[in-house]
Amino acid sequence: MSDKSKAVVVGVGPEAGLGGALCERFVREGLHVFVAGRTPAKVEALVTTLRNAGGRATGVPTDTTIEREVVALFDRAEKEGEGVLDLVVYNAGNAAMGQAHDMEASFFEQVWRVGCFGGFLVGREALRRMLPRGRGTLLFTGATASLRGKPNTTAFAAAKAGLRSLAQSMARAYGPQGIHVGHVVVDGGIAGDKIIKGIPQFAQAMGEDGLVSLTGLADAYWYLYRQPRAAWTHELDLRTFKESF
């Protein structure tokens, strides 16, 4: 956990999003961060910002649902830069809505591939590299849909519940071998570009601190990473004080 550690963050979109905020925080804490997102332009923009601020960051555009791309991402993160790969976050997923009766099978499958299968690939590759060292932290981003299926979350909730169970299995299997596996349940809309720019009326209606703050989320992930192994958290929920849950 020295400043010579490396991190991989998978699922990075706009700078003002959860993936971006996590990269920014980890870099600020001194880690070399491998930024993995599907869209090369967004990855590049974030890496430029991080480097301009004096941080160590490497962009690796990655489709997290393709096995060889995930393997290549980890090969690179393991080889490049100084230090040990010690922290991996799986933050990919898209809150794609829809009901079962008029949903294409391919749509359901794609939501699952990003929301769950990619988590398996990333978790597996992280574990294969961390287990021989007997240490490392692997964090998964969950959502309200990890715990509950609502009428419109048919595919999303199925994927998220799957990801949560995957994380729990990994925690139980690899905790005793020194790997800290955590699952963060983000219970509400996030105060990032996706909502603030994408659906501004909604963001406005939520009012001050009506969306889950990026700083608060980054604090929680960082705290989980720093927990001593004599008292590890597996699951943490996070919501704004205004949320009726």
């Binding site: 139980r172 905790g175 005793p176 020194g178 800290h180 105060a191 601190d209 969306l211 889950v212 703050s213 700083t215 608060g216 989320l217 604090d219 929680a220 705290y223 927990q227 001593p228 192994r229 004599a230 008292a231 590890w232 958290t233 597996h234 699951e235 943490l236 929920d237 996070l238 919501r239 704004t240 004080f241 205004k242 949320e243 009726s244 849950f245």
Partner: protein, 233 residues
Amino acid sequence: MSAKVCVVAGAGPGTGRALSRRFAAGGYRVAMLARDAGRLAALEREIEGSRGYAVDVADAAAVKQVVDRIRTDLGTPGVLVHNAVSGHFGEFLDVPPEALEQTFRTNVLSLMLLGQAIVPHMLAAGGGAIVVTGNTSAWRGVANFAGFAPSKAAQRILAQSMARSLGPKGIHVAYVVIDAVIDVPWTRQAFASKPDEFFASPAGIADTVFHVAHQDRAAWTFEVDLRPFGEKW
């Protein structure tokens, strides 16, 4: 008198002591509540800025009085950590009804009483945090825990109800589930054959409670679990 004030209800030699030390280190004056005045005196000597109050937290009148005294002595509490616990272990058929009643009084009723005594002052001050320490029994009733687990499950649900009621008013209520045996002298004796990684560290628990009590209000946790890495769960 301008220092922040934290009430630790249930200040024994294990988690309560670690919590008091953590909050004192974080700049709080700590009011420690326990029935045993001798224990409190020892903690007072050890922890700078702390003060012990001998009280039965399941006694409504005594709780009201002690909260008034704390406010006069130290100021209005910004944080309440509920760590008081009463246990009973034994076969279902052998649980005396009084045992169940006792665990409910110490583990559930006291949270209600302390909350009702302190929350109005927190509201007047513009906010606060209440963190309750629970354990595996809040989730699961296993054999031999019939006299205890129901009280922890009820305590968790009371905390959840308080969180939903008080959150929008600016008071953060959280529940910490310690899913392990805590590292204190008597558990080391009782589980003498277990390795170090079997025990959860009081300092680690206290650190998480402190972290949760200071979260940004736009990212509050209600429930957080804690266990040592070696725990089978």
